[in-house]
């Protein structure tokens, strides 16, 4: 299997491409198995990637968090700009969590290590993992400047030729609530990078190649060509959609225009959307908007091709500076998923004009919960995630209680109860919460959270529930799903109350927090209505 500088043949490309993805899978498994946090080990909020020496991602794991797929290349390029290849040494690892360089909020920490083979850098092993804590306010959505959100780490060396950079590590240690957990997860990331380096060296040896250049070129060029041809298969034109969605107090207006050209370029334009919010941490830096947007286009138009930077080359994302999709420092960005995840169904609604059978109605998005307190003399800090219902599609009903567009997993209730004072009194599917339609949206759920009766402390629940006000819309006349609801000790926590509280409520023993997650939108009108409108309903109806 000789991989020279000449173009790679089809069969070799297929064999080696599979191998790159399986290397990423192996590294991802090494990362989550070594992690000691719920958010990485159980919820799987992380990804790894292999980039070429330009910083372009050439492979991700099979189950990569799509939100990270686009930004990885942007971040790695910036790392390379500041630390040129020639300055890198074996066993270096670089760190950065700056929201405008990395993945959009401080909690997602980006690490990159050069892959050395026979004395030269042949690519980079990179990973992003959500840390359990990065310091800052526990009112995670209630911040108004990034300075309140915790430690902001500029691109720098975390590991210097195999030696911990003690200054940087101490800075982190002094600034986070659970430093051992946070630092261990960094080492889990670095362990995953080592797996990648080892396997890439083996691959190059077997392929009798000096570097990854020709393989990388082939992957990026083929993927770009495939995406262009998928785009060219669409009629050229501009397809629009807009929606009013939950903001933080004031609603967000999300406007999307998708344009395609004969050359196979695709533009997603957010012009006209809300300006950045001063009310709370719901703003997205451009890189994060870009990342989620290109992943959505990839999922709809080219799901069969494994993600890499080539798939994203034909896509341009336009978001005016100062808008919620291109927030400027020092905007608060902690819950930037409010903007980008809620934009996801609007992008699909725009695409629905041309590929109605490839998109999904809006999913019910639940947002997230972080629990903080002390238990048996130790700090207790964990994530607690529940999903809503998937949106329906042209092929069938949406699944109930499935995370989307994240790829998280819910942890075990028994395990959560073993490690903290939390006592869950119920977790049920809300049977009628999916939007009606020819195909119904998936259902959300209700979770009842209390504390163990003998517990004497209190637990702070920092939350950012999406869709309390505006539901997940249906498509082509499908009905919206139910909105989410939060009840604390019987009192409805609406957007005003949530804003006053900065998103953090305190739960005491004897108290009760009820979380109802939103249902997904339906697809096409419900049967009765549909009968009247006959078969042309889908064609005539406008995406909601």
């Amino acid at each position: 299997m000789v991989l020279s500088r000449s173009p790679v043949d089809d069969v070799t490309l297929e064999v080696l491409w599979n191998k790159l993805v399986s290397i990423c899978d192996e590294a991802a498994a090494a990362l989550y198995r070594a992690s000691v946090s719920v958010i990485v080990g159980e919820v799987f909020d992380f990804s790894v990637a292999i980039t070429n020496t330009d910083g372009d991602a050439i492979a991700f794991p099979t189950k990569s968090m799509p939100l990270f797929n686009g930004s990885v290349s942007l971040t790695t390029r910036e790392i390379l700009r500041r630390f040129p290849l020639e300055s890198m040494r074996e066993d270096d690892t670089f760190i950065c969590n700056d929201p405008w360089i990395a993945s959009g909020h401080l909690s997602d920490v980006f690490l990159a290590s050069p892959i050395f083979s026979r004395g030269q850098v042949v690519g980079l092993a990179v990973s992003i993992a959500h840390v359990t804590d990065i310091g800052g306010s526990l009112k995670r959505i209630g911040t108004t400047e990034v300075y309140e959100e915790g430690l902001r780490i500029p691109p720098c060396r975390l590991i210097n030729g195999g030696q911990d950079n003690a200054d940087v590590i101490d800075f982190i240690r002094y600034n986070v609530r659970v430093p051992d957990m946070v630092l261990n997860d960094f080492y889990a990331q670095i362990g995953a990078h080592k797996v990648i380096e080892r396997r890439i060296r083996e691959l190059l040896e077997e392929a009798e190649a000096e570097d990854l250049q020709s393989l990388s070129d082939a992957i990026l060029e083929r993927s770009e060509a495939a995406m262009r041809s998928a785009i060219r298969a669409l009629p050229t034109g501009t397809y629009e959609a807009e929606a009013l969605t939950d903001g933080f107090l004031d609603p967000l207006l999300i406007k999307v225009g998708v344009s395609t050209t004969e050359d196979g370029d695709l533009f997603v334009d957010y012009t006209g959307s809300s300006p950045e919010s001063r009310q709370g941490a719901i703003n997205s830096p451009y890189a994060c908007t870009y990342s989620e947007t290109v992943s959505t286009i990839h999922t709809v138009l080219l799901p069969q091709v494994p993600a890499n930077a080539g798939c994203f080359r034909p896509i341009r994302v336009i978001a005016p500076e100062g808008s919620v999709f291109n927030a400027r420092p020092p905007a608060a960005v902690n819950i930037r998923t409010r903007a980008v995840f809620l934009a996801d169904p609007v992008v699909m609604a725009a695409l629905a004009h041309v590929v109605p059978d490839k998109v999904m109605a809006a999913p019910g998005q639940a947002g997230g919960y972080q629990l903080h307190g002390s238990y048996e003399g130790k700090p207790f800090l964990t994530f607690f995630m529940q999903s809503g219902g998937m949106g329906a599609t042209a092929k069938g009903a949406g699944a109930s209680c499935v995370f989307f567009p994240g790829t998280m997993s819910t942890g075990s209730l028994e395990v959560i109860e073993q490690h903290g004072p939390v006592l869950i009194r119920g977790k049920r599917i809300l049977r009628d919460s999916g939007g009606d339609g020819r195909f119904r949206g998936g259902c959300g759920q209700e979770v009842v959270v209390t504390l163990r009766p003998e517990y004497e402390g209190a637990v702070t629940v920092s939350m950012h529930p999406h869709m309390l006000e505006f539901p997940a819309s249906g498509l082509f006349g499908g009905k919206p799903g139910e909105v989410g609801k939060i009840l604390l000790n019987g009192e409805r926590i609406d957007k005003y109350r949530l804003h006053t509280l900065g998103g953090a409520v305190v739960l005491h023993p004897g108290g009760e927090l009820i979380i109802k997650t939103p249902g997904g939108g339906g697809f096409a009108p419900p049967e009765k209505e549909h009968d009247r409108k006959e078969k042309s309903a889908v064609k005539r109806a406008k995406p909601a």
Binding site: E14, A29, V36, S64, D180, K358
Partner: protein, 716 residues
């Protein structure tokens, strides 16, 4: 098992054929019988087959000591959703956990993923007022009268089984036991499955899923075993009936009735057991079993005669090769990886202009193009034929003749032309991609468990295994490939090598440093006593039992555990030191280094008790005769890394002599399979009848006897 017993029978039921082996334990002679499986009631073919094999061997049924049975009934019942109407009693408020699963998507890029339906519909999930805390304290007492009222509507006889699974029952099973008594009183005719008896481990969804699956198959398995037992008695059999469990141990019929879910991998476990007990000259400590058939390839790692086992199985996947799309079962099972590559896997060029092989398969109908049964799309088998690996006149021992022209035209149309390759190059590409996929899956599986492929031998069987084995081994730097002689009856034969055995698992969530030694030893002893009782009931003397204790350990906060054995079945300060060392060593093998700044946490304790192990040497084949062709046969064969086809000798196992090596390239043809040996390899025969191929050692030589660096035992 009495000492003077003479005849034993192994019965392996497959989808198409039922294989039966009758072994004379005194002489080591055995007879094999194959008949069609009676799919409506598989017990019919078992009983018929046993009568026939005994008759043809002239053995009276009263001379039969025992029958061991490997069955796919549990697997088929769950996969085909043909189980009993089962109800679920679950802590009130948690009726939907079984349906919500872990809420994760298994395919990130697929908006249209389907998720498996739960085995119990919402209407049959009964909320029970009760609640345990994580430390085993009862917070809400079980409301017995209310439960009786809830059960009464089920007395109409429609529900055949009940699963009981309460939160934290692993920490305190009292409420489950009380509910079990109430169910037995109110619904005396239904089978009851109780979560803390099936898997007393934290993790409500996995425990629920396992308990429900057990209930779902229990009535079906109960009826089947009753018919089988009655039938055997009717024939005059006085011996016992044993069942193969998923972890390669065998159980009595009572255990199988109580825990039928543990039979899920009963069929495949038998073949792996035979591989684990393989007799061969080199006495390899480390094997990878590689079984490739028509639709999939399966691999299993075997260290020191023990297949790797797991308590985390995922079965009945909505998407066959996507982890996360199936039902989790926490049962002890051999750990297998299934890859979507088999002889029937389809080859096609995708929109990127890349060649893809599998996971879609033609199955047996219409089958590969070369079968001439209406299939027109190219498959792996078609590529093998074009490359000269298969003999068109001797496929399945000549029972099916292959059409090379049809294979060529299918590959030309769908692969060669779109890619601008010759038909032979396209076929070689299909072969290379299939080998690459299997090698990748094997590599990741080994790497994730900290195993070094260079220490392993690859044991290839199944119709397509030995054709691909050398290339797969080469890609992984595995130095040896072994092709055993009795590939066709590995499963049925394996049944007669399994010990009676029973494994138990219990949650024990404690930081290792805070474990109370007395308490832990008591817990182990109690679990061991329960497991031993299962074997005592089966007639195994306690003196003949081997007992293994192990701990599932992790760093505090991690989810994933590493199993560490307790060498002397005793936990004390000295043992703790050894345990920590073992844990850190195993951890470093996977993650590069141990992390001494973190606390080690004990997650669960495990006990396995096994009876005496039977001999396995009888399955070897020392005398072989040639069935067709002659030793001078040659044909053109195209190998990877060669610019063109080369003339290659076609041998039979009988042409090889122990102690001699044939220089590759060589094709070895047998009725069940074909072994392909590359130009850089060499092949020999060992004294047990195994083909032994040394990868990359094909320097022209006719070495006889003492090899210093290879198959040492050839000098025997």
């Amino acid at each position: 098992m009495s000492a003077q017993s003479r005849y034993v029978v192994g019965v392996d039921i497959g989808g198409t054929f039922t294989d039966i082996v009758l072994l004379d334990r005194r002489s080591g002679n055995y007879v094999v019988h194959k008949l069609l499986t009676s799919t409506a009631d598989p017990s019919e073919s078992v009983l018929l087959g046993i009568s026939e094999i005994l008759q043809s061997a002239g053995v009276g049924i009263d001379q039969l000591d025992y029958v061991v049975h490997g069955t796919t009934l549990t697997a088929n019942t769950i996969i085909q959703r043909q189980g009993a109407a089962a109800a679920l009693l679950v802590t009130a408020g948690f009726e939907d956990i079984i349906e919500m699963r872990n809420e994760q998507r298994y395919d990130v890029y697929d908006l249209f993923s389907e998720f498996p339906e739960p085995l119990v519909p919402a209407a049959l999930r009964i909320p029970v007022e009760e609640r345990m805390l994580s430390d085993g304290q009862a917070l809400v007492a079980l409301d017995e009268e209310k439960l009786r009222g809830q059960l009464r509507p089920l007395q109409d006889g429609k529900v055949q089984a009940v699963a009981i699974c309460f939160l934290h029952a692993y920490a305190n099973p009292e409420h489950e036991q009380l509910a079990k008594r109430v169910v037995e009183e109110e619904l005396p005719d239904v089978a009851v499955s109780v979560s803390a008896e099936i898997v007393p481990h934290a993790g409500e969804y996995e425990r629920l899923s396992t308990t429900v699956a057990n209930a779902y198959v229990q009535p079906i398995m109960g009826n089947y075993l009753a018919r089988l037992e009655q039938g055997l008695r009717g024939l005059g059999c006085r011996g016992n009936l044993y069942l193969m469990l998923s972890d390669g141990g065998m159980s009595t019929i009572d255990t199988a009735r109580q825990f039928p879910v543990r039979l899920f991998e009963s069929g495949p476990a038998a073949g792996i057991t035979a591989t684990a007990r393989l007799r061969e000259d080199a006495e390899s400590r480390h094997l990878v079993a590689f079984d490739m058939g028509g639709t999939t390839a399966k691999i299993c790692v075997i260290d020191g005669g023990q297949p790797l086992t797991t308590w985390d199985l995922e079965v009945a996947r909505a998407h066959r090769f996507r982890r996360g799309s199936g039902l989790p079962l926490r049962i002890p099972s051999i750990e297998m990886v299934e890859i979507g590559a088999g002889g029937g896997s389809l080859a096609q060029v995708n929109e990127l202009g890349l060649l893809k092989v599998g996971p879609t398969s033609t199955g047996s109908t219409p089958g590969p193009a070369c079968y001439g049964r209406g299939g027109t799309r190219p498959t792996v088998t078609d590529a093998l034929l074009v490359l000269g690996y298969l003999n068109p006149g001797y496929f399945l021992g000549g029972r099916l003749s292959l059409d090379r022209a049809k294979a060529e035209s299918a590959i030309a149309r769908e692969v060669a032309r779109p890619l601008g390759l010759t038909v032979e190059e396209a076929a070689l590409g299909i072969y290379r991609i299939a080998c690459g996929q299997m090698a990748e899956a094997m590599r990741v599986h080994l790497a994730e468990r900290g195993k070094d492929p260079r220490r392993y031998s690859l044991v290839a069987f199944g119709g397509a295994g030995p054709v691909h084995a050398c290339e797969v081994a080469r890609a992984l730097k595995i130095p040896r490939v072994i092709v055993p002689p009795s590939a066709g009856i590995m499963s049925a034969g394996g049944l007669l090598m399994a010990p009676l055995a029973f494994s138990m698992l219990q949650s024990y969530p404690h930081p290792l440093a805070k474990v109370d030694a007395t308490d832990l030893n008591d817990r182990f002893a109690e679990l061991a006593t329960q497991a031993k009782q299962v074997l005592v009931d089966a007639g195994v003397a306690e003196s003949g039992m081997s007992v293994e204790w192990s701990l599932d350990l992790k760093y505090s906060g991690q989810k994933h555990t590493i199993e560490v054995p307790l060498r002397d079945q005793r936990f004390d300060a000295e043992a703790t030191t050894a345990i920590v060392e073992d844990f850190e060593r195993l951890y470093a093998m996977v993650h590069g280094r141990a992390n001494k700044s973190l606390d080690i946490f004990a997650q669960a304790i495990k006990v396995r008790v096994a009876g005496p192990v039977a001999d396995s040497g009888w399955l070897a084949q020392r005398t072989i005769s040639r069935e067709h062709g002659n030793a001078a046969d040659r044909r053109q064969v195209r190998f990877l890394g060669q610019p063109a086809g080369i003339s290659c000798p076609v041998l039979h196992r009988a042409d090889l002599r122990p102690g001699e090596f044939e220089q590759g390239p060589v094709v070895v043809e047998e009725p069940e399979t074909t072994t392909i040996v590359g130009p850089d390899d060499r092949i020999g025969l060992d004294s047990w009848g195994n083909l032994v191929i040394e990868i990359g050692r094909g320097t022209p030589s006719k070495a006889v006897g003492k090899e210093t660096n290879g198959v040492v035992a050839f000098a025997r």
